[in-house]
Symmetry: C2
Subunit: 151 residues, 2 copies
């Protein structure tokens, strides 16, 4: 599957909107969205640790869940504001999601190199807005951030 | 952390009870439970793909979720009826769960060797009851099983 930078940047706006929604709710500002290859939005979501007291709802798992039961993910693209942690990278690998678009991996690097080694397409955008969002959040709430990644 | 085979087998009964509950509900019979090092039950759950239409609720994620927000998983043990898939193995690695007890890996092998390489303690019980449960289920509902592992 080929994903252009322009397409990736457009899709990223949905994930960023989710991240900002999470921040406004008092949560951890990471957002994600799952798209079909033709650009249809299948599911979107954000981290819900604080809002629902649910440590299992990372942004990527929330978007995956919102998409409901699907038969095959090869032609889907997971778009996330931040490099996916091992939990979310494992999700991508297990379900064979074809491509991952990542807002930034400056503030945190999860398993996206591992995913690339196993055949997942990766687009890393290095988006300054995404970097700022996480940098500000980590400075403001280091406790919450560390809890979210099990550090 | 040291987990004796006797302790592992006792804990496994909770995961098996969850798997059987899932089967009785018409779901995929995989169960899990998260225990503290002193044997306290922190959370238990089973696969809820069918019951809730939720592909993100594997047995291990359901048990992890049921345990709520915790600060540190190093001294916890994830007990599951089946070798954890990449998604659930990623969960274990990201949150640094100290030990995983596995009912069987005959019908499916996920990422438990990878976890062992990265320092997670693994107890593989090779339990005949767990093998039978999954063998019967896969024979009866191969479609559902393949959907659940993204095959």
């Amino acid at each position: 599957m080929t994903v252009s930078t322009e397409q990736a940047q457009e899709w990223l706006t949905v994930a960023v909107a989710e991240a900002r929604l999470g921040l406004a709710e008092g949560g951890i500002p990471i957002g994600a969205a799952l798209f079909g290859v033709d650009g249809e939005l299948l599911g979107r979501g954000h981290n819900r640790r604080v809002q629902d007291g649910d440590p299992s709802m990372h942004a990527e798992t929330a978007a995956f869940r919102a998409a409901g039961r699907l038969r095959g993910y090869r032609d889907t693209v997971m778009v996330t504001t931040l490099s996916p942690c091992w939990y979310c990278s494992g999700l991508v690998r297990q379900f064979g999601i074809g491509h991952v678009v990542i807002g930034e991996s400056t503030t945190f690097t999860g398993g996206h190199h591992w995913l690339a080694e196993h055949g997942t397409g990766i687009t890393l955008l290095d988006d300054p807005g995404c970097v700022r969002l996480m940098t500000d959040f980590i400075a403001a709430r280091p406790d919450l951030w560390q809890e979210d990644i099990g550090a």
